[in-house]
Amino acid sequence: MKTLSKGILLAIVMMFVASSGFATETLKQFDGIKGRTFHADFYNEKACDTCHSSKTPLSLPADDACLSCHDQDDLIAATSRPDDEKWQNPHNNMHYGKDVPCMECHGEHESRKPMCQGCHSFKYTKFNQ
């Protein structure tokens, strides 16, 4: 079943995230560029076009590039917060709903801070830079 496999996948992802400790540990030097260890296949296969529009990227990926593999509903579930902090879910938040492009908080080749930390001091312990 689709839901079941999604659930298993989510569990695996969660385990991975939990075991990775500080998110910076997932940023590793590949040939000529830093990237995330969990995306090692892209670098080994020189498959820049997984995210960028070409094999030799000149521009940033489309805002929805990550969502061709990552399921938005799964992400929302993975970062859900207790009821009184419901709208602090970065993947479905009070100011912008589900519309914040992934790369506003996450960096594939560099570390980034969650966008909301410009004003707020919310703690995102599982945050993957």
């Binding site: 521009s59 940033l60 805002d63 009184d84 709208w87 009070m94 100011h95 912008y96 709903g97 519309d99 914040v100 492009p101 506003e104 410009g118 004003c119 001091s121």
Partner: protein
């Protein structure tokens, strides 16, 4: 001062207008030649019926209204990665006279009474005609938000400077409680929403009409990526709804040298006003540029608009603010924003350093608004079981503070504030008693009253002809004049929404 030469600005405007046309061979050297002879050979990359720059209240309301009036092709260009602009950060407070809630609560009000309050706060230089237009149509704008799914608290608030309770607030206590439903409505209606697209300049035709804009597509704010220019034709009109310039330190401190980089702001970092400057470059009239409002309800203990702003806005009516050094009140807690900000800035220690005033509220009244929990949870507000603990924590002399609270409770009973003339209607029966909740207040740059001059049809006025610049419309904080010296709280959303709707109506008639 040199006398301005007649025709000087016309020449300059046309010169710059020519510059705005991509690659056009325009007779720059001969501005005196009849413009009819100049050919506009712009290569258009896109063409739309209505082009809107900015996705805050004004831009979203304009897009929805245009669609409702039958527009087939409406596009919104937003420079940021996300939609909503400063409106998504705003406090979600919406003033409307003769609203359904006023009927329910038995509040007698009228557009004229709201305008009278605004004119008082505007200190004689606010544009009455614009204010009346907005006040008369505020309920219509409120209805647009309700139709789109916005939800409001089931009670009204009486904000500083308002003579009666007339302010709605979204249940999320933030403007996103309006921008999100409006965005969904736009999506439903088929409005094209383009992010990371920054307005660059206007494109004029050979008769001096704005017929489009140059937009940098693929603009990445804060990453040094300027994007690629495209020429976008606007068949019916171009609306500038880009908000204020509270975060443009150069521009704001040029108007008011006290607003240096040291003064924080409630606005997001993108509130920088480039489109406003572009309107001035092509001849729009600058109005009230130095009237830049600071919010007296902000807190020095958090960044941005934060939680304390809405907490204080709600609670000021039944709270007291005291100067820590004396334990005495120093202002009418619901005077207009400028009066209060000016008073707060006077609260200093012996070395002239800021000594932010303490706002004291009874716990039983503070807990009525959901922001209290947040204020306590994020450590920007404090709860005390006794006045002694409170006084000790902030180093306030206890006896004068006790006396002040007794005096104030007398005003609650009599309904007359003998100290500062605060309207006590909303404080009725709300005596100050332990336990208490407190916050510290200090002003932050919040709103730019100044901007480009418009008329009641949202048309941008030209400084040479004093007539509308054809094809160019503006709405919301980017415009100037409406509020004068100081805007009353909860009057920006009706301003933005009504003028956005009005701009759509004007464009659809064109």
């Amino acid at each position: 001062m040199k006398e301005p030469k007649e025709g000087h600005q016309t020449d300059r405007r046309k010169f710059l207008a020519g510059m705005g046309v991509a690659g056009a061979a325009i007779g720059l050297a001969a501005p005196s030649i009849a413009l009819g002879a100049v050919k506009c050979d712009t290569q258009w990359d896109q063409e739309h019926e209505i082009v809107i720059i900015g996705s805050g209240f004004a831009g979203l309301a304009a897009a929805i209204q245009a669609k409702r009036l039958g527009a087939k092709d409406v596009v919104i260009f937003e420079k940021m990665p996300v939609f909503g602009g400063n409106s998504a950060f705003n406090g979600g407070l919406f003033a409307a006279p003769n609203s359904p809630l006023q009927k329910k609560e038995g509040v007698k009000d009228s557009p004229e009474q709201m305008v009278a309050d605004q004119l008082k706060s505007g200190r004689g230089i606010a544009y009455q005609e614009l204010l009346l237009h907005v006040a008369k149509n505020a309920s219509k704008a409120l209805q647009m938000t309700l139709d789109a799914g916005a939800e409001y608290f089931p009670y009204l608030q009486q904000l500083g400077g308002h003579s009666v309770p007339r302010t709605y607030q979204t249940v999320q206590a933030v403007g996103a409680g309006i921008t999100q439903p409006l965005l969904n409505e736009c999506k439903k209606l088929g409005v094209r929403l383009v992010n990371r697209a920054k307005f660059d300049s206007f494109i004029f035709d050979d008769k001096g009409k704005v017929v489009g804009a140059r937009i940098n597509q693929g603009y990445y704010f804060g990453r040094g990526k300027k994007g690629n220019p495209i020429n976008v034709r606007s068949a019916r009109g171009l609306l500038i709804a880009t908000g204020g310039f509270a975060r443009n330190v150069g521009l704001r401190s040029a108007q008011d040298p006290t607003l240096t980089a040291e003064v924080p702001s409630t606005n997001p970092p993108n509130a920088t006003g480039e489109a406003l400057l572009e309107m001035f470059r092509v001849g729009a009239v600058p109005v009230h540029m130095s009237y830049i409002q600071t919010g007296p309800w902000a807190s020095p203990d958090e960044d941005g608009f934060g939680y304390v702003s809405n907490y204080s806005i709600y609670n000021f009516a039944h709270s007291i603010s005291v100067y820590p050094k004396t334990g005495r009140r120093f202002m009418n807690e619901i005077a207009d924003r400028k009066t209060r900000s000016d008073a707060e800035l006077q609260c200093r220690d012996d070395n002239g350093k800021p000594l932010p005033p303490i706002t004291i509220t009874s716990y039983e009244h503070a807990k009525e608004h959901p922001t209290m929990k947040k204020v306590l949870k994020y450590g920007v507000g404090w709860k005390f079981d006794t006045l002694e603990e409170l006084a000790k924590h902030f180093n306030i002399p206890l006896e004068p503070l006790k006396k002040q609270i007794d005096e104030y409770n007398g005003y609650v009973k009599s309904g007359v504030d003998k100290q500062f003339g605060k309207p006590m209607e909303k404080a009725k029966g709300k005596y100050l008693k332990a336990p208490f909740v407190t916050v510290r207040n200090w002003p932050k740059v919040h709103y730019c009253q100044g901007g480009a001059q418009i008329d009641v049809h949202a048309r941008v006025i030209d400084s040479t002809s004093w007539k509308p610049i054809p094809g160019l419309y503006a709405a919301g904080e980017v415009t100037g004049g409406m509020h004068g010296v100081s805007r009353l709280g909860s009057c920006s959303i009706p301003d933005c929404m009504v003028m956005g709707m009005t701009a759509a109506e004007s464009m659809m008639k064109s």
